[in-house]
Assembly symmetry: C2
Homo-oligomer: 366 residues x 2
C-alpha cells in the first residue's frame, strides 16, 4: 500500500541482499522510520519489541531472521538454536511457528553451503505468497461488504475493527482491512470505527494511520465504546484479524476482541474474522489450549504519544505503587463469530467449515 | 476516607462559610490539590470539567452551587437560571437533577433573605445523608462479599470494577467501593482488578489512587482485559456504580460497563451495581430513553500523565487528521445485572425489585 504516494511493503530485502528492512511500527503514527535488520538477533528483537507485529509479518520477519542466522552458521545445531530463539519471541502467534518450520524444511536436507541462500529465497516466497493471500482475503471479504452495503440503500456502511489487521500487520494489503480498502476503492460509502486497542493502541496508531493514509473515513473510539455503538445501531459489520484459530473455530486475537464479539452477538451485528489459512492451528482442538502471552505491566501504566512541540514522550498514567496486569490476547469462542474470511472464501466457524475450504488440513499454498 | 492518614471528604464548606472546597480530581493521581468554589459559575465549571465527578458528588456540588447563586440573587428568576445552568453541566446524571430540585423545594416558599442560608444548610444535609447512604450500601454489599469469600475457602476473592465509584465519586465511602473497603477492613483476602476506564482513565487514576491509599491490593488492567480474566476464572465478582437506573432496572454507567456485564453473564460471574436510591429515575421506563452524553473527541486522542521528571503532560496518541468519537456512557440491560446494592439492601434488577425496597417510588431519606 502507499504512504504519501509511495508504494511500500512492510518488509523487503536491501538491494545488496545483506539485510532486510522494516518499518519501525513502534514509531507510528508519529514518525515514519525504516529499521535495518542484519542479524537473527536483530530480527528476533524486532519481533519481541513489536517493531514488527501482526501474525503474517511476524512470520515473514522470523523467516528472514532464520535465513540471516544461517549466514553465520549453517549447521543443524545453529538452525535449531535460531529456530528456538525466534519461536520464543511471541508465544501466541501460530504462523511464526509455521514460517520457521517452512524455512527449516526448505534447508535441512541441503548442503550447508547452500542453506543460507535457499532460506533467503524461501523467505521471499513466503512474503510474495502473503501478499497474494491477503489480496484474495480482500476479494472474498469484499463480497460480504457489497451485500451489507446493498442493505443500506446508499447509506454509509459502518464497520468496526479492533487492533490492527491491516497491511502493516502483513506484508501488504492486510487481512481484516483488505476488504475495507477494496470496498472503499470501488466506491462503497464506508466509515470505520477504530478501537484504539489499549494497552498498545495499535488501532489508534496503526489502523488510523493506514486508513488515513488511504483516505478511508474513520473515527478512533475508546475500546469501551463499541458495545454502545452497536446498541445504537451504528455498527453494521465488525471484522477483525486473528493470531491463531483452533480446529473448532475458536479465535485468539488481541485482548478485547472477545468483548466486542459478545456485543456483536447481543445486537445481531455480523462479526467476521479474516485470516490466512496459515493462522489455523490444526493441532489444537479448542481455544482454551492456546497459551496467552502475559506482557509487561508498563504497557498499561505508561502511554506514549506526541507532545505539543512534536517530540515523542511517554507518560505514566497510574499512581506510583499500583500494579498492572496485561494479558495480550483473549479467545473468542467460535459461537460468537459469524464467519471466517480466508484466501479460499468464507466459511462457517467450526471444523467442518474450515475443512470444507482446507481439506488438506495444513498450511496450503494459495 | 483517608489520604496520607488524614481524613477527607470530597467536598466541604470553608470555615468562614464563604465557599466550598473540593479535591481537584483532574490532577489525581499525580497531584493532590484543593480547589475553592466561591460562585455558582465555579461550581458549574467544576462539574463540567470533571474537577468533581461521580453522580453523588456532582449532586452535592450542584447543591452548593445553587446555594452560592442565591447569595448573589435570591429571586425566583435567578434560582431558575442557576438551576438550569447547573442541570446542563452533565446530562446523564440523574441525581444532579434530584439535588437541584431538593434545594429548590427547600427555598422556594421562603422569604428571599433566608433563601441562601436555607440552601446552604440543605446542601450540607445532602452531603451528610450521602455519607450515611454510602455507609449502608457498603454494609449491604459486605454481606455479598462475605458469601462470595466463603465459597473461596480462604483463597483471595478477586473483584473487578469499572470507572470510579469510590469515595471520590461521593462525599465519602463510595458506592461500589464501599463494600470493598469494608471487606478489606474485616480481613477478607481481597484483590481488585481495576479497569483503567478509557478515555478519561478514572479507574487507572482515581480508583487505583483510592485503593492504594487505603492499602487494598489491586492491579490496573486495560478495559479490554476483563473478559479474558473472567474466562480464565480470575474474577469472582464484579461491582460497579451507576449514573442512572431506570424503573425497569436498566443501568446507565460509564462507557464500557455494558461490555463487562456481557462478559460476566457469559462466564456466570455475579455482576452487581451499587447505587443510592437517588440514582433511580422513576420517570423513565427503560434505558433506551436515557440521553447519552457525547463528550469531546480530544479525550480519546489525547492522554495525560506524568513525565519521567515528575511534571504533568498531555500526549496525542492518534495520527493528525484522525477523527474520534466519544460517547460517555452506555446502558447495561437489567437482564445482565445480578442485583442492585442500595442503602436499604440488595434487590432484583427490575421494577418489582426496586419497589420492594423503595415503595414510595421516589428519592427517600435514608
Amino acid at each position: 500500500m502507499k504512504i504519501q504516494g509511495q508504494p511500500y511493503r512492510t518488509i523487503w530485502p536491501t538491494p545488496d541482499g545483506s539485510a532486510v528492512e522494516v518499518i519501525d511500527q513502534t514509531k507510528l503514527p508519529h514518525r515514519f522510520e525504516i529499521r535495518r535488520l542484519a542479524t537473527m538477533e536483530e530480527a528476533a528483537d524486532a519481533i519481541r519489541t513489536m517493531v514488527v507485529r501482526g501474525a503474517p509479518l511476524i512470520g515473514a520477519t522470523a523467516a528472514y531472521g532464520l535465513a540471516l542466522a544461517l549466514r553465520d552458521d549453517a549447521s543443524d545445531e545453529a538452525l535449531d538454536r535460531a529456530h528456538d530463539t525466534l519461536l520464543a519471541t511471541r508465544p501466541t502467534a501460530v504462523n511464526l511457528r509455521w514460517a520457521l518450520k517452512r524455512i527449516c524444511d526448505a534447508v535441512r536436507n541441503r548442503p550447508r553451503e547452500t542453506r543460507a541462500a535457499a532460506a533467503w529465497r524461501e523467505a521471499a516466497i513466503i512474503c510474495d505468497e502473503d501478499v497474494e493471500i491477503c489480496r484474495r482475503i480482500g476479494e472474498h471479504g469484499l463480497k460480504l461488504f457489497r451485500e451489507a452495503a446493498a442493505k443500506k440503500n446508499g447509506a454509509t456502511l459502518n464497520v468496526l475493527t479492533h487492533c490492527n489487521a491491516g497491511w502493516l500487520a502483513c506484508v501488504d494489503w492486510g487481512t481484516a482491512l483488505a476488504p475495507i480498502y477494496m470496498a472503499y476503492d470501488e466506491g462503497i460509502p464506508l466509515h470505520v470505527w477504530v478501537d484504539e486497542t489499549r494497552p498498545r493502541n495499535q488501532g489508534a496508531s496503526l489502523t488510523a494511520f493506514e486508513l488515513g493514509s488511504h483516505g478511508v473515513p474513520h473515527a478512533v473510539i475508546a475500546d469501551n465504546a463499541g458495545g454502545h455503538l452497536m446498541q445504537a445501531g451504528r455498527v453494521d459489520l465488525a471484522i477483525v484479524g486473528t493470531d491463531r484459530v483452533t480446529r473448532n473455530g475458536d479465535v485468539a486475537n488481541k485482548i478485547g476482541t472477545y468483548l466486542k464479539a459478545l456485543a456483536a452477538k447481543d445486537n445481531a451485528v455480523p462479526f467476521y474474522v479474516a485470516l490466512p489459512s496459515t493462522t489455523i492451528d490444526w493441532t489444537l482442538a479448542s481455544g482454551d489450549l492456546i497459551p496467552i502471552e502475559e506482557r509487561a505491566g508498563t504497557e498499561v501504566t505508561h502511554m506514549s504519544g506526541r507532545l505539543p512541540d512534536g517530540s515523542l514522550a511517554t507518560v505514566e498514567i497510574t499512581p506510583q505503587g499500583s500494579a498492572a496486569a496485561n494479558p495480550g490476547f483473549d479467545v473468542t469462542p467460535a459461537r460468537l463469530v459469524t464467519g471466517f474470511v480466508t484466501e479460499r472464501g468464507v466459511c462457517a466457524t467450526n471444523e467442518q467449515g474450515l475443512r470444507s475450504l482446507f481439506p488438506e488440513g495444513a498450511a496450503p499454498k494459495p
